[in-house]
Amino acid sequence: MIGTHKFRFKGNWKIQLENTTDGYHFPMVHKSWMASVDAETADMMSFMSDPDAVTHALGNGHSVAIMATAHMDLDEDDGTEEIQPRFYHLVDALKEDGYDDAKIRRIMRSMHGCGFNLNTFPNVAMSSAFFRVLIPISVDETEIWHMALGMDGGPEIVNQERLRIHEHFQGPFGFGSPDDAEGWERVQIGASADPAMPILVNRGLNRETTSPEGWPTSHVTDESGMRDAYAMWKRMMNVEDQL
């Protein structure tokens, strides 16, 4: 843990619960961030059209959304991924410090995080290279912590680059979080217009399959993860009915 961003938005915590298992908001809400990163980074986020990018509902409200399949496991490296030119100075610095090529490649590939969002119900997610914690303040206000992850004992120069990458997207003045927060506040306002209106989370229901592990699975832009989370929430809120 190398630093924490904290901010609040005026909306219910469940709006945020959806965020890390919501693939389809990314190209619209985060268009400005996409426009500001290099093509290689943008490619990593090309999950919209990648059929291998899937969401698994893990049960009890938990889910995993896999965006960058090539970054699922650091130990699996087919060697095709190229290090982005703007990080060459880090590679040179690590070489000078005596790191071997394999180690350098592993460190560089890890910089953008794990390639998936692991959502643990109800309020903690590991998203790419940071932890996200939701803290409900009231029914219509939520606090969010984005906790940046670095390498314990790893090279300081790379941990500093990880801080810069985290700052680029996250936090109250990042290129991503403010746009998320604006969207969530609008959702809260919109939802207040008709509190009895059903919330549709049926995207991908028609193409949901069951994985060999028994997990309901659909494309990462589908709502299998959200369905699992809301089902768990309803189950917990109705616990008295079951007694």
Partner: protein
């Protein structure tokens, strides 16, 4: 010591304050391309989280902008893709309580207090901050060489707001 010998009466300090006030007006007007022009090429604009750190590079900040990030930030604020920037709060700010940290013919370092009032969707919000500006003086035009914004609530939740302090 006559009245005119006070540090704030130094014309070099006056130039620096004038630039800081111009910056404040430009930020309230959200004229970000003009704001970008106020900085030297190697200037850093930082909004730290840690209330006391001076080692911004090794810390997580809210903003740590060199020229490259500043360019992208201005682009983001202007291009119309970012809903938070398009629907940004209106702001008005005052910068005052100047104290002179150092002054030379090429550089002035000033500390000041900023009271920033923002308005959006029937809500006023107040954001207080301690500012430190390093102003590079030059016959070609004075520029901001370093700006640190220490928000009073930097280590507590800061709401995303679509404007720059």
């Amino acid at each position: 010591m006559t009245e005119l010998d006070t540090a704030l009466a130094d014309p070099r300090v006056g130039r620096a304050i004038e630039l800081i006030w111009r910056e404040a007006q430009i930020l309230d007007a959200k004229e970000y391309p003009a704001w970008e022009e106020l900085f030297t090429p190697d200037a850093i604009y930082v909004i730290p989280i840690d209330q006391h750190t001076g080692d911004f590079e090794a810390s997580l900040n809210m903003v740590y902008d060199d020229a490259r990030m500043r360019r992208m930030r201005v682009e983001r604020m202007m291009q119309g893709y970012a809903p938070s920037a398009v629907a940004a709060a209106r702001t008005v700010r005052t910068v005052s309580r100047f104290t002179v940290e150092s002054v030379s013919d090429t550089e002035v370092v000033l500390r000041s207090a900023q009271i920033l009032c923002s308005y959006k969707r029937n809500n006023f919000a107040l954001l207080g901050a301690e500012l430190t500006h390093t102003i590079a003086l030059s016959a070609d035009g004075d520029k901001i060489a370093f700006k640190v914004v220490r928000l009073l609530n930097s280590d507590d939740p800061v709401s995303a707001s679509g404007f720059l302090p």
